[in-house]
Subunit: 365 residues, 2 copies
């Protein structure tokens, strides 16, 4: 008399339902391997993995045991093939020699990780159209849940508008005053506070060293600077343009002919402020006795410049986090609670001081 073949897939002839005979140890195990081992169907394993509740405790335990035994790890390629969704986000960021962009990327990376996503980071020159298109081409092949630009330049904006991503895309503009968005803390609160700090020290004539005009952050800062100058009734010698680097800050100051026409220099980031300070020093001005200098960002080194830099603290990590959350909201069709504005705090250090008597006459000229 024959025993009835037990139900299920286990018909290979072994009487032990937890059959491990043909599990190839060199291959990474699949749910089929786990199913065979647990004596259930692969679908039950799949259900277990996705947290389905209607599984009998007894079955559940067998699956769990089998999962551990073979040290199962899901194959996300297969999963995203069927579900049509990946858990990767493509992130474009500017070449990271600046602290800001890399901090933003870091915050974004962490936020993505918390949501179960991984960030595919591509660094490129944000103002080089060819580089952007090339990067987009690459990124679009690697099936992604969404695409993120971690900073905003004109070229990037245009490329995003022209591209056909087929997935959600988002540009993390630090500030989007021009596009009708609510202006960021930096330009609405931070820069006015900075200028008011300078006005309070008696400075009447200022100079702004801005970032490249293609960057929306740079443009917004210029506008905010000019607004604040007007509001306090100050005079501005105008705006010089750098490229965010210390060298460009240095060059900006060196390009000024004749005696310094201002008592304070407002740089759009800390690096340019650093360069400006060196140039001023070399030209014989003492900081802050003769000229005050301010930056924006408060990079970790700013407190250790000589002299320590008065600057605006910017929360880059949160900026990156917000960007990811915005994108995820699109991906997962969530409605996002209004995010609190990013505080940007004035950090007064020794690079600003009261206008010295010896130069104060300049401020009125």
């Amino acid at each position: 008399m024959e025993l009835e073949v037990p139900k299920g897939m286990n018909q290979a002839g072994s009487e032990d339902p937890t059959d491990r005979s043909d599990v190839d140890p060199t291959k990474t195990p699949t749910i089929y391997d786990v199913a065979r081992l647990a004596g259930v169907s692969h679908q039950t394993v799949s259900r277990f993995l996705r947290g389905y509740q209607g599984i009998r405790p007894e079955t559940r335990e067998r699956v769990l045991k089998a999962l551990h035994e073979v040290d199962y790890r899901p194959n996300l390629a297969a999963r995203s093939l069927t579900t049509g969704r990946s858990h990767r986000i493509g992130a474009l960021t500017h070449e990271i020699d600046q602290v800001g962009p890399s901090k933003i990327a870091q915050g974004a990376s962490i936020a993505a990780r918390e949501a179960g996503y991984l960030l595919d980071i591509v660094t490129l020159d944000m103002s080089n159209r060819d580089a952007i298109n090339q990067a987009l081409e690459l990124i679009m092949q690697h099936d992604l849940a969404g695409v993120l630009a971690l900073s905003s330049t004109d070229e990037m904006t245009q490329a995003f508008e022209a591209a056909d991503f087929r997935v959600p895309a988002y540009i993390a503009a630090e500030e989007d005053d021009a596009r009708g968005g609510h202006p960021s803390e930096i330009t609405s609160v931070g820069l006015p506070a900075l200028l008011s700090h300078l006005a309070g020290l008696g400075h009447l004539r200022l100079l702004h060293i801005a970032g490249p005009t293609a960057w929306s952050a740079a443009r917004n800062r210029v506008r905010a600077y000019e607004r604040a100058v007007a509001k306090h009734g100050l005079g501005s010698h105008g705006v010089l343009y750098g490229d965010w680097s210390a060298k460009s800050g240095y060059d900006a100051i060196m390009s000024l002919k004749g005696p310094l026409p201002v008592t304070a220099v407002v740089a759009a980031n800390d690096q340019m402020a650093l360069g400006a300070m060196l140039a001023l020093t070399e030209r014989g001005y003492r900081i802050p006795e003769d000229v005050s200098v301010t930056g924006i960002d408060d990079i970790p080194e700013a407190a250790y410049f000589a002299p320590p830099l008065t600057t605006l603290r910017v929360d880059f990590a949160t900026q990156g986090r917000n960007a990811v959350e915005q994108l995820l909201a699109q991906i997962e069709h969530l409605v996002l609670p209004p995010r609190p504005a990013l505080p940007s705090r004035l950090v007064a250090r020794k690079s600003t001081g009261p206008v010295g008597r010896n130069l104060s006459d300049l401020s009125g000229q």
Copy 2:
């Protein structure tokens, strides 16, 4: 009389072989869509895409046309499901507030891109074991071609040894003196050159501000420093340990009691050198008249410190590139040509100078 149905898959009744009738425009097209449009089999399309030569020019052209018409983009999830290989590399990097790590990541990212890979970058605290394990857990799910650690700490090394990646893994130690590898340029050539520069300026008693001991780069630099001190017959006041940050360089100098026992400070990176310079200045020492200070890395800002910093230029981008190439060699079973050593060049600026007479007596004490 009936026309014969043309061969191929195109039996849906339309007489036009380039049938586009049931291509759903909302779905991203697949090779099957392209095949139908071109009137060939999907396999022919697949062959075309992978560069197979044995396709008749006529067929080839039809496929190409169809590809363009639907703007086909390969689904890499499907591809890596069948080939069992992905084109992504998981990269672990230290929280990127330092320039070094982020430059390395950038170089790695570019090199990966050139080879058709994308870098999944995960930032973490390289000396936090829990963070490392958590990150590894995450990236092991996202099927990767390989795993890369972009800098080397003890914790990272241990975690890598314990982990079961099932894919190639590589730790990019800047230098691996301790593990028998060929020592890097920095420790074998760069630091000796730096010390010899100081010796040439008359410095006889030095202090080293090192990075955290868990970092192999920090340890190697300490060893190289001590070797070079011995070689030149110099005296060392010893080694103080920082954490790569400007603050830790500042604190290190401030922790010294009494008058400064050395005439030159050798910091293991530029940030700590910056902090050290500020502390020295606050304690009343002039740089370089009273004390010389050197860094390592040559970050872009170093040339604009006050005073500009004498340092060793390190090629981070190439370091990252090398790491990726090493990993790819493992992934694709290539034998790598021996890579040329990374040049590390001494960049002498104004933070070093001849020993001043007023303090030179200290050097012999």
